[in-house]
Amino acid sequence: MTGTTMTRPRRDGKNPTVGKGRGVPRLLTRVAVFAVIAAVPPLLFDDYWVFMAAQVLAFAVATLGLDILYGRTGQMSLAHASFMGVGAYTTYVMANHGYGPVMQLAAVIGVALVAALVVSVPTLRLSGMRLALVTLAFGELLAWAIRNTTDLTGGTQGASVDPFLFGRLDSSEPLHAYLIALVPAAIATAFAVHLGRTQLGRRMLAIRDSELAAESVGVAVARTKITAFLISAVYAGVAGWLYAGITGFIAPPDFDLFASVYLFVAVVIGGAGTVLGAWLGASYVVLMPEVFTLAGQPNLYPIVGGALLAIVALVVPDGIVGLGRNVWRRIRGVRGDEEESK
């Protein structure tokens, strides 16, 4: 195509911008796909894998939250696992006082919001690695607090959390845990998808890319950053709640710096800024070790896991989603060119 018939784009009257009509069927397809995928683990796999699937759900809620904060708002946080910890330990304390899962969840959300305010307000002016550092400080402080409140939190040895009981569902059963986790995961996903189509979501993108430009159109930078922090902390808190209920045991290492780094890894590997990426990332970090188990080498993962991580990250710099998108564009791009040359 040497394009002798180049049309000047700006004189082209037709307008493919807004596809209003496509909205509803597209939504339905997505819901259907989600439902089909969600049905796979309980129908096809044994208890162990259903348990792993439930873990993926819990982590996906966390990565979706981190993605809102990092992928969309550009605020790097190395305390996301700590917010999960806040959720998990709140759950534990509430359970010890005899409250059921619903009250636990309400308390988790409340505590997460407060914790997010405490972290986000003093750090409003920070960005990049510096912000990461301060959030890391929050993580360290949490670890320190747990170490020093053995009576309340079980201390360094961790604590076992009573399973959730919803009617006949008991979260110590993998299948039940999976079903319980499915609901918050689906809701979290729906909200995250929706966020991308709101002005709030665009404010976040604007802040990520240029605070000056954002201000020039009237975006409240500080308020939006805090909002992003709050949303992401609630997501993390809910993830912590799920995690505590599903695994039944929580300990400080589950929520330490490395845990936070792994959530960060999940977001980047999956594809920052995309909902699908957050899911793929969560699946990667939870399931990758299992691949080695399947291959009959369960103890090989720690040795080659690092190399694998580096390689994957280099092969898919835009995340797994970015890879898919590139392939898709290549296919579509070819088609598009053909259309144009006609």
Binding site: M1, T2, G3, T4, M6, R8, P9, N326, R329, R330, G333
Partner: protein, 231 residues
Amino acid sequence: MLTLESVKGWYGSTQALFGVNLRVPPGKTVALVGTNGAGKTTTLRAILGAVRTEGSVRVDDVDISAKPTHRRVNDHHISVVHEGRGLLSQLSVLENLTVGANRAQRARIDEVLDLFPALQGRTHQKVSLLSGGQQQMVALGRALLRDPKYLLLDEPGLGLAPVVIDEIYRYIAELCSRGMGVLLVEQSVARAASVADELVLLRVGTVDRVIDTTDSAQVDQLVADAFGVHH
């Protein structure tokens, strides 16, 4: 002679150049014109080796298409004014001017500052604090400091006041007459026609035609064809 032979260029998987042929002899100014998105900038990038290319780029009969950018620039005395300035915003004005330059080139700093009095006295300021036009002067200054054999200019007049533009083109014409080859990207065909010896019209990544600027009828035709003044 700077020669491009059927040069193709890609951004990732999208192709932007579809076989560009071009020659810039020493002592001549060749202007690349074309609508927005025609591939003018990409052509310059191809010469520098900053996009993935196929085809051959030769300087004085040496094929440089396999060389890394810094070798092309240093060994073959090419320098460039990037589109939209391409300055290093963390560096000072002086550092922006001298980065990568050798000792002899650095010695020419005063000459360049004479050309842009606006920069005098602010050489230690961060370049991002300058006004848009002053930044463009730094970009030009960096290219001129190197006393190149071939100068690639991507819209050198961007953001400059008329008085400065005139002066710049006068200076370039002078360098050109001393044997420098200039490849100029210019939005204004009129301006291009007035300074260049040859106009090269790019369309969707290929050379549509090459005309001599002394033939004003052809220039008018080119403007009419390419920029569609007919509506």
